[in-house]
Amino acid sequence: MDLLNALVAFLNFVVIPAASYGAQLAVGALGVTLIFGILRFSNFAWGDTMAFGTMVVILVTWLFQSLGISIAPLPTALLALPFAIAITSALLLGTDRVVYRFYRKQKAKPIILVIVSAGVMFVMNGLVRIIIGTEEQNFADGGRFLISAGDFKAWTGLAEGLAIKGTTAVTLVTALLTMAALFWFLQKTRTGKSMRAFSDNEDLALLSGINPDRVVQVTWVIAAALAVIAGTLYGLDKSFRPFIYFSLLLPIFASAVVGGLGSPMGAVAGGFVVAFSEVVVTYAWKKVLTYVLPASLAPDSLMQLLSTDYKFAVSFSILIIVLLFMPNGLFNKGK
């Protein structure tokens, strides 16, 4: 019984939160890695792109709510996704046309593009703060719990409860569908194949008659979709605050680098590696250990390796370890 309780506590406090956070990071990291693979720079505006997309979702959600449109028990935000993706795509394509294209034609060094993306970050950040303000917004409606802790306890008779929030389920399913769609697109469609070819070897791809402008445009549209979905899932699960989205940049970059920048499969794996390490290192293990260990060995302290404030230190350490020892990431074939 104690072992079962320990397992349930472990699932409830470690596996489920980490899986849903990992899915959010994975979708975000896919966008970073795609932009890196095709456009060849690290996009510092990514966090604010996610914030912008989520903001549009929130505005459309409010509109739908005022019109009484709902898809309960699912959150209305899901219905708003396509509209937000369209608007964010337009913004990214516009940004590319006005800003990035110039440097691409010049074949500017990647670091210049990084600085340019910091300028774009300022603009997007300003837009978001002007339109929706800096305060926290909660836009999660729909079912609160798929399984609530109380029901679970009553149902199994265990002392520990297992709760699955509605948003967790939505996150996992949406992220899974998104990833499946993206991988299908990259593997099976003509455009997807040309994107991969472009990412592997630009010159060869151009020689085989791939239209670079088209590849770049498709990349931005996909990136917009990924940014909106990642941002919305994170916002539904936690809450929306513009500055939080900026600080998501670090775990997302860490995820993309762990898997190897430019590798979509790696980005997904990286997202889960980062999320699970963060939760495992910052979780207070006292409860689980008390169940597992005999009473004489039960811990007095919280058994927490690092306080949750330091979760960024975890992403950062992973990032540094990977950069120092496996600079191409876990999933990139040796280059």
Partner: protein
């Protein structure tokens, strides 16, 4: 200094004069103080980027470390708290540093193989638990002492001007560690890695209550020598007689003269730095740095140790930034960890450097004064302007929202300014020769 520079500096000077005439001299001088500080920060960043081409996004970390130095150097001593766990906490930190050093040594000197991996892992994991075992109880005892006013180990209670070089030293040590790890990486990896380090430094300052009181803020830090306090001036008969003699209002005169003293002090620091940097830039060392920046491979072929030179310039730049961070906190008299955001203290400084002119020291100063003015004037003039724009509108949620959002306009404006400069004048307002 050429005519273009003189015109531009005169133009920026006019902005400050106009602010003084139209708003108030108090505001104008306030902005000038912060503008001078920003100029010093921009000089440090310009050393890293303009001389060496290193893109670091960890500026805010150096600035915050400089601020932390003020807490240690000038914070009130708290002997009770220090006696409760000061030495033990220092011992814990020493164990942590020794553990990392031992792990690095093991990695460097042992033969590659499973044994080495095992040794490094054992040292790191064992060291971590040893450090936590020594450090945690000490911190608990320190934080337990009078948490409402103290809860920290306390500082040395020295004059805060001593904190300026110490702030530079703190930032330099951190930069040495970061440089050792991250300078070998490709340029955008350096940007990502430094972003992370800065985030960790800020988190530590926010949550390690035993040193900085965290989000409870550290207030009551003394002013640097020789800046007087306004209340003391107003109580001083000599000063009052002087004011009466010239028909001045003691209140305004005292606040303005305190600001004036700060401006003179900061301008002196800035002047000395520029003098040193201009000499360095025109020396053989400066030529070598530019050669490395422009073509690392050929510089290395000429026998220059590129990695070492990068590390040196990275440390020097961070030290300058750290010193300015200490100057900032000593002037404010308090450390507010929540204030240190990457947008304000990393990317804004970057905009100053790039708009001013990368690689040109005078450009950084110009950028610091100009962008600093733009950023801060919005606090004072933004609501007024937005209020004027929206006077025709009916009162309602939209108008209230627009007036509230006015300060955010600066993000948009500065972002657009950065993009325009990068596109149309990538070498900045005052290009490098």
């Amino acid at each position: 200094m050429n005519t273009r520079a003189i015109y531009l500096f005169a133009g920026v000077g006019m902005l400050y004069v106009l602010t003084g005439l139209l708003l108030s001299w108090n505001v104008s001088l306030n902005i000038l103080i912060l503008g001078l500080l920003s100029a010093i920060m921009a000089l440090g960043v310009n050393m890293q980027w303009g001389y060496a081409g290193l893109f670091s996004t960890g500026i805010v970390g150096s600035i915050a470390l400089g601020g932390l130095a003020v807490v240690f150097v000038s914070g009130q001593p708290v002997p009770e708290a220090f006696a409760a766990g000061g030495w033990q906490a220092i011992g814990g930190l020493a164990v942590a540093v020794a553990g990392i050093a031992a792990a690095v040594a093991a990695w460097t000197y042992m033969a590659p193989g499973r044994l080495r991996n095992l040794a490094v892992a054992v040292i790191l994991i064992g060291g971590f638990f040893l450090y936590r075992g020594i450090f945690d109880p000490a911190v608990e005892r320190i934080e337990a002492f009078d948490p409402a006013t103290h809860g920290n180990v306390g500082g040395f209670g020295l004059n805060s001007i001593w904190a300026w070089p110490v702030g530079g030293l703190f930032a330099a040590i951190a930069a040495w560690a970061i440089g050792k790890i991250a300078l070998g990486l490709r340029e955008d990896y350096l940007a990502i890695a430094t972003l992370g380090i800065a985030e960790i430094v800020i988190t530590a300052i926010k949550s390690e209550d035993w040193m900085s009181r965290g989000v409870k803020n550290f207030v009551g830090l003394p002013r640097p020598w020789p800046v007087p306090y306004e209340v003391d001036m107003q109580a001083d008969p000599g000063f009052l007689a002087f004011c009466a003699n010239w028909g001045l209002d003691p209140m305004t005169t005292s606040t303005l003269s305190v600001k004036g003293i700060y401006i003179v002090m900061f301008a002196m620091v800035l002047g000395i730095l520029i003098w040193l940097l201009q000499r360095a830039l025109n020396s053989p060392w400066g030529r070598m740095m530019r050669a490395i920046r422009d073509n690392e491979v050929s510089a290395a072929a000429m026998g220059k140790d590129v990695k070492r030179q990068h590390l040196i310039i990275f440390i020097l730049g961070a030290a300058v930034v750290g010193m300015s961070g200490a100057m900032y906190v000593s002037m404010l008299g308090q450390l507010v960890p929540g204030e240190y955001t990457p947008l304000r203290f990393t990317f804004l400084i970057w905009i100053m450097v790039i708009v001013g002119g990368s690689g040109n020291n005078w450009g950084s100063v110009l950028g610091g004064l100009l962008v600093g003015w733009l950023w801060l004037i919005v606090d004072n003039a933004g609501p007024l302007v937005m209020g004027a724009i929206t006077t025709g509108m009916a009162d309602g949620p939209l108008k209230a929202h627009l007036v509230d959002a006015a300060p955010q306009l600066r993000l948009l404006t500065l972002g657009v300014a950065l993009l325009l400069v990068l596109r149309f004048s990538p070498r900045g307002l005052l290009p490098e020769k």
